[in-house]
C-alpha cells in the first residue's frame, strides 16, 4: 500500500502542446480523420488548428459542408466490402448509395455530421483557418464560409502560427 494517494497526472504543469491539421480533401471519408483527431487533441488540452485548403474548402463552404460525398471509385476496401467490381463504382448513383451507407455507419456510432462536428470543435476551442490562395482560386469570400471560421490566412502566416506544432497533412 502506498502512503501518498495515487493520483492521475493530467500534465497540467507540462509543456504546452500544439497540433495542426491541413485538410486538403473534400470527400466525406477524408473529412473525418482530422475532425476526430482534432477532437481528441482538444479533449487533451492541446492547442489545435485546422487549415483548410484546395478541396478541403468544401468542408467549410456553407453550400457543401453538409453534403460531402463518399465515392468508392478506386477504393479497394469499399469494393471488397460491397462485393462490387471496381468498374461499377463509377456508375451514376453509386456515390449517393455509398455516401448514405457511410452516413448510417457514422450515425450508428453517434458521430455527428460535418457541420455539427465543426461546431463541436470550435466549442472546445479549435481554430479554423481558410487558405488564402484557395479562397481566391475558387472565388470565395468569408460570407461563403461557415461562421465558425476564424479567418482567412496565407501560407506564410500559417507556417508562423504552427511553429512548434505537430502537423498532419490530410
Amino acid at each position: 500500500m502506498n502512503d501518498a494517494p495515487i493520483v492521475p497526472d493530467f500534465g497540467d504543469e507540462g509543456e504546452e502542446r500544439k497540433i495542426a491539421f491541413v485538410c486538403s480533401k473534400g470527400t466525406l471519408d477524408m473529412a473525418y480523420p482530422a475532425l476526430i483527431m482534432a477532437s481528441g487533441a482538444l479533449e487533451q488540452g492541446v492547442e489545435t488548428h485546422i487549415f483548410f485548403t484546395f478541396w478541403g474548402m468544401d468542408m467549410i463552404n456553407k453550400e457543401t459542408t453538409g453534403s460531402l460525398k463518399f465515392t468508392p471509385v478506386g477504393n479497394t476496401t469499399a469494393t471488397r466490402q460491397a462485393h462490387m467490381p471496381m468498374i461499377f463504382t463509377a456508375f451514376p448513383g453509386i456515390a449517393s448509395i455509398a455516401t448514405s451507407q457511410m452516413k448510417k455507419q457514422l450515425e450508428a456510432l453517434d458521430i455527428p455530421d460535418v457541420p455539427t462536428f465543426l461546431t463541436h470543435l470550435t466549442d472546445m476551442g479549435c481554430h479554423l483557418w481558410a487558405c488564402k490562395m484557395s479562397v481566391d482560386m475558387f472565388g470565395l469570400t468569408e460570407d461563403d464560409m461557415i461562421d465558425e471560421l476564424e479567418g482567412i490566412m496565407n501560407v506564410a502566416d500559417f507556417i508562423e502560427l504552427i511553429d512548434g506544432a505537430q502537423t498532419m497533412f490530410i
Binding site: 494517494p5 495515487i6 493520483v7 492521475p8 493530467f10 476526430i36 479533449e43 463541436h120 466549442d123 472546445m124
Partner: protein
C-alpha cells in the same frame, strides 16, 4: 489492482489512479478527488456533470464522452472546459469515480 487511501478511506484504483469500483465512490470522496486534481470546490455545475456521469454509467456501462455529456446530459461543451479545465473528459471521469471514456468523440 492497487489500493490507495483517499480521504482516509481505502479504495481500489487502476495504475493511473482512476477508481475501479463504482460503489467505493461517495460524494464526500468526490470532493477529495477534485482537490487532488486542483479543483478546490465542486459547484452545482460540477455536480450536474458528476451526477449525469454516474447515472449514465449505470445505464450504459461506460463513461459518457464530452459530446454525450453535452447532447444527453445538457451541459454545453464550453462549460465542461470551464468546470474541468484542459482535459475535461478525463478530469470529470476521475472525480466521478469512473474509468476514462472509451469512445473517441
Amino acid at each position: 489492482m492497487p489500493v490507495t487511501t483517499i480521504g482516509g478511506r481505502e479504495v481500489h484504483v487502476d495504475d493511473e489512479g482512476f477508481l475501479t469500483e463504482y460503489d467505493e465512490w461517495s460524494e464526500d470522496l468526490a470532493k477529495v478527488l477534485a482537490e487532488n486534481i486542483g479543483i478546490a470546490e465542486l459547484s452545482d455545475g460540477h455536480w450536474k456533470v458528476i451526477n449525469f456521469l454516474r447515472s449514465d454509467f449505470q445505464e450504459q456501462g461506460e463513461t459518457a464522452t464530452l459530446r454525450r455529456v453535452s447532447t444527453v446530459g445538457g451541459v454545453p461543451t464550453k462549460e465542461l472546459f470551464q468546470l474541468f479545465p484542459k482535459k475535461p473528459a478525463r478530469k470529470m471521469s476521475y472525480v466521478a469515480g469512473l474509468p476514462k471514456p472509451a469512445g473517441c468523440i
